[in-house]
């Protein structure tokens, strides 16, 4: 009885791509985000985490693997999250102008934090020059 109520959405539009993106990244994050939390809390332990944890994660034989893993986690999770936040904002913000303002602010935040994350994942060296040295 409900079959006719659910029509297939038009293909190719931004909204459809966004809908599909949330499902694809959602499935990926179901594995990698849950695994990340399991790894850090159950295998390593939060109290033991410090600078040296990052050094052993991002250097040595498995460094490339973990950097790739962290790039995927960073980009998928934060893009999924910011896109979700724009969907939530659209439910409560009905004026066109304020929607533009919220979307712009959220995507600027997305760009800034993704760039910060990618920068540190790609450039990190244990002896890298720091602003306070």
């Amino acid at each position: 009885m409900m079959r006719t109520a659910r029509q297939r959405p038009p293909t190719g539009s931004f909204q459809v791509m966004s809908w599909l993106f949330m499902r694809v990244t959602g499935l990926l994050l179901l594995v990698i985000a849950v695994f990340h939390m399991f790894w850090m809390h159950f295998i390593i332990g939060v109290e033991k985490i410090d600078f040296n944890t990052i050094v052993s994660r991002w250097t040595g034989p498995h460094g490339a693997f973990w950097r790739l893993f962290d790039v995927m986690l960073l980009t998928f999770a934060f893009t999924h999250g910011i896109n979700g936040a724009t969907n939530v904002a659209d439910d409560y913000i009905t004026s066109r102008g304020w929607r533009v303002v919220t979307r712009t602010a959220l995507w600027i935040l997305w760009f800034a934090l993704v760039m910060m994350g990618l920068w540190i994942i790609y450039t990190f060296r244990p002896d890298m020059p720091t602003p306070f040295k």
């Binding site: 409900m2 959602g26 499935l27 159950f42 985490i49 410090d50 600078f51």
Partner: protein, 171 residues
């Protein structure tokens, strides 16, 4: 009505609106998603700080250490796991539409899987500071959100009439 007013109206209505499992799953999915996003923003920033050297980075990590932080981390595990499993249910229902007819039963399957994973995980995470019994107690207090909120929607006195215009449903 302002966006903030609309938002609090939705929260207020959601507590008493008898949409039952589906309504409650939607609300927790949304709040959990925003909560995890908030943490993620903080987490990206703190990892960025490893570029400032061991002193700055290690000093920042006080945020995640100690018993109070650990309880918040269990709350994060709650949000991540609930959002993940509820999202998986939504994906399955989206791609196999006939399962929509059993959405309530699927929610309870999801709730059982959530409980099997969350209760031992929360207890394990808390035992370092609170012991097994204390950890289990705190975990159960958080977990109780699932059965209590759903049962609460069944025993709510009167279903409120939702004012669609007031909660931002108009276009």
């Amino acid at each position: 009505m302002s966006a903030l007013g609309r938002f609090s109206a939705v929260i207020a209505e959601s507590v008493v609106y008898r949409g039952r499992e589906g309504q409650w799953a939607y609300l927790v999915h949304r709040v959990a998603g925003l909560g995890v996003l908030l943490f993620l923003g903080l987490h990206i920033f703190d990892i960025y700080l490893v570029g400032f050297g061991p002193e700055v980075f290690n000093a920042t990590l006080f945020l995640y250490k100690g018993p109070a932080a650990r309880v918040l981390e269990v709350l994060l595990a709650f949000g991540l796991l609930f959002h993940a499993l509820n999202g998986l249910r939504i994906i399955i229902q989206d791609f196999v539409p006939r399962l929509m007819r059993y959405h309530r039963r699927l929610f309870w399957v999801q709730a059982v899987i959530f409980s099997i994973l969350f209760i031992p995980a929360g207890t394990f995470m808390l035992k370092e500071f609170f012991g097994i019994a204390g950890g289990l107690l705190i975990t159960l207090a958080l977990w109780a959100l699932v059965p209590l909120a759903v049962i609460g929607q069944y025993v709510a006195p009167t279903p409120l009439t939702l004012n669609v215009a007031e909660v931002g449903g108009e276009r």
